[in-house]
């Protein structure tokens, strides 16, 4: 990517709006809680609007980074302000601003230390957006860690009974894991300087050297590769979270205030899987391929283990928290199948999990505000009492179950299909157990979610819920937004799959193609063709018109499918299959 400074632009504005919001809120006196909440709503809505403007200006026909901004910062250290957006990050950005608005909307119910709460929310929003937009490793790391602080504070001040324990565990666990990533980043920059002569933390530049094969050809780098890989992978695996690094999650989720849980499950877990896509796959192609069996195994264990443990929980929130472990497992097996279908499914499932699990936490929060309990033993028979609430809950529950026509199905289906293809081809040592066992996870999802629904909504009405009124109109509107997204995502997944397809395909080819024929973000004459091939086109300007062009030459085939080796001669017809033969052919074509 060119090194001409561009100045600040739309993406900076996207992050600036919440920061401004935080400042404005900080100047509103504490005794006007309504003004504070109003300001938070306005700034959240504006952020969502700006993200929609970004969406509107996004060019679908390319995998390259768009709206790139480059502002020199610390020249001696090679750290610069460099942001950009592509198909992998686009929808995560929109998901973040969308869920944030919902979370702020719900936070109408907050009445303790309102000002600090909303300042934290706004800071958190800016930090999360920063994670998804950064193209500089140190910038990424800064946002990655910065997002921890407001979340930990939210848990700590507005959390439940064990909030101290949960907040500290959350903070230290995830912080401790990512400190290794920081060290890894420094080493990566050093190794990059070895081969290119420039000291830089620019992700695109380092990836360019990885793609050409120079980077890991350095014996020094090759020797440290496994260690560096795991330094990065560990940070993301804790964040996801993947088994066995998941135990911070149930505590953090259960103790966090509702809005915190929505954001935590909806957005912050995706930072882990986003890290896989943005950093791990492009920078560590050989290591990724070599470690697929380990990561797949952990993903599959997470799916089954998370589901079984979820089924045992006596508390609604803990159940949904463990279900996240299971659901994120599908994202992981999709991504690490390194097939096009699987990676699309995994990427899409990130959004779906954000919508469905975010919505589940929101709905649980609505109930908790009313009855101040989340224990199944305090519930039952709510369906007759709150029909609208139960209908909304049902749709969201089904979205989480992976019911077709709702969003969860498409992602799970593609992720499983991808892992099936990888297993069939024995790609990177992926075994048959991956699709077969994670398919059982789909059955188990029905088990614990239907039990949950039964315990809350069916049976005789629990006397503790007597006289409970149905949702208020604004609550219906709020949760209705999520229901609409769940249905839209299930009926018209192309809305989301289309813009992300080329970038996801490029990410996959960065990981599986041989050195020299990998896509890079720096070479704008490379492009993903409509048939999935990596092709050479005329060079284009960064941030310029990236519309699809006729390919000049094919650099690497798309490898969208594996061959299934066939026999050379047809099998001899079974001699005695006379009864079978007479059935004849299906409708003559």
């Amino acid at each position: 990517m060119n090194m001409t400074p561009t100045g600040f632009g739309l993406l900076s504005l996207l992050m600036l709006v919440p920061v401004l919001g935080a400042l404005v809120i900080a100047f509103i006196p504490e005794q006007f809680p309504k003004a504070i909440k109003g300001a938070a709503m306005v700034f959240s809505a504006v952020t969502l609007l700006v993200s929609l403007v970004v969406l509107g200006g996004f060019q679908v026909g390319t995998y390259h980074m768009q709206m790139v901004e480059f502002v020199p910062w610390l020249n001696q250290l090679g750290i610069h302000y460099r942001v950009g957006i592509d198909g992998v990050s686009l929808w995560l950005v929109v998901l973040t601003t969308f869920l944030n608005l919902i979370a702020v909307w719900f936070s109408f119910y907050i009445d303790k230390r309102v000002k600090v709460y909303f300042v934290m929310t706004m800071v958190l929003l800016a930090a999360m957006l920063g994670v998804f937009l950064s193209l500089d490793l140190i910038l990424f790391y800064t946002f990655f860690e910065a997002s921890l602080i407001p979340m930990a504070v939210m848990i700590w001040i507005w959390g439940g009974e064990k909030r101290n324990y949960a907040a500290i565990k959350f903070f230290v666990y995830t912080f401790a894991a990512s400190i290794f990533m920081l060290i890894g980043m420094i080493v990566m920059a050093k190794l990059n300087a070895d081969v290119s002569g420039t000291w830089t933390f620019d992700l695109t530049a380092i990836q360019g050297n990885v793609a050409s094969g120079q980077f890991w050809a350095n014996p020094e780098a090759a020797r440290m590769a496994p260690m560096l890989f795991w330094a990065f992978a560990l940070a993301f695996m804790v964040k996801c979270p993947m088994f066995p690094f998941h135990t911070w999650l149930p505590d953090a989720h259960t103790e966090a205030p509702t809005a915190g849980s929505v954001i935590l499950a909806g957005v912050m877990l995706k930072m882990g899987t986003y890290g896989f896509l943005r950093i791990l796959l492009p920078l560590f192609p050989e290591q990724v391929q070599a470690n697929v069996p380990v990561i797949m195994a952990l993903g599959v264990i997470g799916i089954i283990y998370g589901a079984i443990v979820a089924a045992m929980q006596p508390d609604l929130k803990r159940l949904v928290a463990y279900s996240s472990v299971a659901h994120m497992g599908f994202v992981v097996i999709g991504i690490f199948s390194l097939t096009h279908d699987g990676m699309m499914g995994g990427s899409y499932q990130q959004l779906n999990h954000g919508i469905s699990t975010g919505a589940l936490f929101l709905l649980i929060g609505l109930l908790y505000e009313r009855i101040h309990t989340r224990l199944f033993s305090d519930m039952g028979g709510l369906k007759a009492q709150m029909p609208i609430y139960s209908a909304i809950f049902l749709v969201i529950m089904l979205s989480s179950v992976g019911f077709p026509t709702l969003n969860g199905f498409v992602g799970e289906f593609l992720a499983l299909f991808g892992s099936f293809q990888a297993a069939q081809a024995g790609f990177n040592g992926t075994g048959w157990y991956v699709p077969v066992v994670s398919g059982i996870g789909v059955i188990l999802a029905a088990v614990y979610l239907l039990w949950m629904f039964q315990k809350v909504f069916y049976g005789e009405l629990n006397p503790k819920l007597a006289r409970l009124k149905d949702l208020k109109p604004w609550e219906i509107a709020m949760s209705g937004c999520l229901v609409v997204m769940a249905i839209w995502g299930g009926l018209f997944p192309n809305t989301f799959l289309g813009p992300m397809e080329k970038a996801v395909n490029a990410t996959r080819q960065m990981a599986i193609n041989p050195p020299g024929s990998r896509p890079t973000w720096t070479d704008t004459s490379l492009e993903i063709a409509d048939n999935g091939d990596l092709v050479r086109v005329l060079p284009r300007a960064v941030n310029g018109d990236m519309h699809y062009q006729e390919p000049l030459a094919v650099v690497a085939p798309g490898n969208l499918h594996f061959d299934v080796p066939a026999l050379t001669e047809p099998r001899v017809e079974q001699q005695h299959a006379s009864a079978l033969k007479t059935q004849g052919t299906e409708v003559a074509n």
């Binding site: 230290v172 401790a176 330094a231 397809e501």
Partner: protein
């Protein structure tokens, strides 16, 4: 062939009906109640539910007629509505397939569906949640239509799960009883086990087709569309080792077995009788449970490629048929008898498919849809007339009170028993058993007989049993001279239990957001539950309303033999309709046609006579209320031979133990390790600092130590590297 676009109206009407019932049904009833009264308001709402299905039937009929008028061998291109999932590597459009198989199913679904909707308007007239019932029922029809009309496996799967959801919602319709919602969960979960197989089978198909895209000349990515995967499937599969087509077919069969209640996944169907009776008739007899047979017919090319899988299908079908028939003898609940009979008849359909006579399986779907819906609706009329008591031991002599129900149900009884020539069941059973006993020697042999032949002979035994247990049911219900409900003493008055209704108002602290009803609001919505009439000696059964008996009569007309014998021209016309261009299997290789006829007649008539003889041995010595007096075989049959206990209770208990174990591991081992690290660090920190510290310091120290070690290692390697 643009006019086939009108197929979308078939889907549109039920969807519109569903949306109407969901969003406006309750307001319609509430709004009209003031003007015309509750009953008429519900009737209007019911009309809005029946009309869409009837309209869909009419459109379906017109499309079918148009299809039938096409020249032989022509095929309607897939009708695409929009691109649903579209990737570079996979394309799944929302597309419908208009062919004989799908249109036959459409006519069954919408035709019998509208009759059952009509019946349900009468049956559910007293139901408080009237519109919610029809919301689910209309949604079911829509999902079922997607299942049979979808032109790719994914769309079939959409309908597949959709009907499963509606089944779940309708089984648990009366959700206040937790037992119902447990039955609903069981149905959904067991179906999901089948769906697991369906999904993997579907993946197998897609991978094979995608890998051979060049050879097959496919230039779009529709790896799962029927017009792509069916025509050359057998040629393609012949190039692969036998285990590949076998495993794909068996995976798809697991899916079919879940939906169509085949052993061992049948266990959900008897429990599903917890739903209202129209649901049992529509979903759990006529339509949804036959979708497995539909799938086998649709994917017949893929099944035919694996004789081994076919043998398994036939054997599982036979086992299911036999199990269902034997268990039916031990049932006292009239709906349970019909449920097991459905399981048994579904087994027949799978025998047909398993021996290669796919059309015969479909033919039995058709005839069974009529007579089993008839029997279920009839049993619903009986239950309705008997104050919702379902125990046949309380019935007797009902032919006197319910003449129309009796006559129509008797026709259904003779149809399922397979009485020759006059009744439809005879034709479809014969169509299955003929090819079965003559089945060739496939890959799966059991001694001298092939799997298909074994299944065929088991089928004859089951035919005998079927006639017998259905006779038992009819005798107990209609013929028994004793009116046994008169033996139940009237309860000592139905004093209204006010204590149960006195809602104690729980104080939830200050209700500043207005979450709870005030006393005045609560009083306004307080409904006194109408007194539920129990069956006892004072009960007088009455014939049901025309709204309910009219569907019975229509279904009875279609249960006569003319549907098989005359109209469908002894199966051959039906075969040619479903599989144009194929040749029907010739009978009479090993077992002649005449022998078959004699055997069929003997088993059906013999079964009825056997049933009469058993009944003649008098109740209640072994049909009594005192189960201890039952003979042990019948007791065991009543308990499903322990299969359900073994599978359901077993898996719940095992799962519970495993879950508790894993949760303990999670808390005490995995998280315990994390906490120990924290404590250790704090303890070390305490030693060093000799001051009070918290977790933060502990973890931070830990972190610093780790980081220091790592940095040290890195520096070391870099230094070594530079030094080299």
């Amino acid at each position: 062939m643009g006019s086939f676009q009108q197929i979308w109206w078939v889907l549109f009407f039920p969807v519109a009906g569903f949306l109407f019932q969901a969003f406006a049904g309750k307001s319609l009833i509430d709004g009209l109640t003031e003007k015309v009264g509750l009953q008429k308001a519900r009737l209007a709402c019911g009309f809005m539910a029946v009309a869409p299905i009837a309209l869909a039937f009419l459109v379906g009929l017109s499309v079918t007629l148009e299809l039938a008028s096409l020249p032989a061998g022509s095929q309607v291109p897939p009708q695409t509505l929009f691109s649903w999932i579209h990737l570079q590597s996979l394309s799944v459009p929302f597309e419908f397939r208009v062919d004989a198989l799908s249109m036959t199913m459409v006519l069954i679904i919408t035709g019998i569906g509208s009759l059952i909707h009509l019946y349900a308007v009468g049956y559910m007239a007293e139901e408080k949640d009237f519109s919610r019932f029809f919301t689910y029922l209309n949604l079911f029809i829509a999902a079922m239509l997607i299942l049979v009309l979808g032109n790719n496996l994914v769309l079939t799967f959409v309908g597949w799960e959709g009907v499963g959801l509606c089944s779940y919602l309708l089984i648990g319709f009366w959700f206040k009883d937790v037992a119902n919602s447990k039955a609903a969960n069981k149905a959904f979960i067991v179906n999901r086990i089948g769906d697991w197989g369906f999904t993997l089978g579907m993946f197998g198909v897609a991978v094979l087709i995608a890998a051979n895209r060049d050879a097959l000349g496919i230039n779009d990515a529709r790896w799962l569309s029927y017009d792509v995967i069916l025509p050359r499937a057998r040629d393609l599969l012949a190039y692969y080792p036998a285990w590949i087509p076998a495993s794909i077919a068996l995976m798809l069969f697991i899916g079919a077995a879940g939906k169509s209640a085949q052993f061992p996944l049948y266990i959900w169907l008897p429990d599903a009788m917890a739903g209202p009776t129209p649901v049992s008739a529509l979903i759990h007899a006529a339509t949804m449970v036959t979708s497995g047979v539909y799938l086998l017919n649709r994917m017949s090319e893929w099944f035919l490629a694996s004789p081994f899988a076919m043998g398994v299908v036939a054997l599982v079908g036979a086992l299911t048929a036999l199990l269902g028939a034997t268990i039916a003898f031990g049932q006292t609940d009239i709906k349970k008898v019909l449920a097991y009979s459905t399981v048994s008849q579904l087994g027949y359909m799978f025998i047909g498919c398993g021996v290669g006579a796919f059309y015969a399986g479909m033919f039995h779907v058709l005839t069974h849809a009529f007579f089993k819906a008839l029997l279920f609706l009839g049993s619903g009329a009986v239950i309705h007339a008997m104050a919702h008591n379902q125990d046949m031991r309380n019935y007797g002599n009902l032919r006197k009170y319910l003449p129309i129900t009796f006559v129509t149900m008797a026709i259904g009884w003779l149809a399922i028993a397979g009485i020759p020539y006059l009744f439809s069941g005879f034709w479809s059973k014969e169509a299955i058993l003929g090819p079965a006993v003559n089945a060739g020697h496939g890959a799966l042999m059991l001694g001298p007989l092939s799997a298909g032949q074994v299944a065929g002979w088991v089928g004859f035994l089951v035919a005998l049993l079927t006639a017998t247990y259905m006779t038992r049911m009819m005798m107990l219900t209609f013929f028994n001279p004793e009116e046994r409900w008169k033996l139940i003493p009237a309860a000592a008055g139905h004093a209204h239990d006010h204590a149960a209704h006195g809602h104690e108002h729980h104080h939830h602290g200050e209700d500043k957001h207005g979450f709870f009803m005030t006393d005045a609001e609560a009083a306004a919505v307080e409904v006194h539950e109408e007194h539920h009439h129990e069956l006892d000696e004072s009960h007088k059964p009455h014939e049901v309303s025309p709204l309910m008996w009219l569907p019975l009569v229509i279904l009875a007309v279609f249960s006569f033999g003319w549907i098989g014998g005359a109209w469908l021209d002894k199966n051959e016309a039906f075969f040619k309709w479903l599989y144009p261009g194929a040749e029907m299997a010739a009978h009479g290789e090993a077992v002649s046609h005449m022998t078959l006829l004699i055997l069929s007649t003997a088993t059906s008539v013999g079964g009825v006579l056997l049933g009469l003889w058993l009944w003649g041995r008098k109740m209640p010595t072994w049909e009594g209320f005192d189960l201890a007096k039952w003979n042990p075989v019948q007791k065991a049959a009543g308990k499903q031979w322990g299969i359900d206990w073994f599978l359901t209770d077993g898996s719940i208990k095992t799962g519970g133990v495993l879950g508790s174990f894993l949760w303990a591991i999670d808390r005490w081992v995995i998280d315990g390790f994390v906490n120990i690290v924290g404590y250790l660090a704090r303890w070390t920190g305490g030693l060093v600092r000799k001051s009070q510290t918290g977790y933060v310091r502990g973890y931070a120290l830990m972190m610093q130590l780790g980081a220091a070690l790592f940095v040290g290692y890195l520096i070391y390697t870099i230094v070594i590297g530079v030094g080299r």
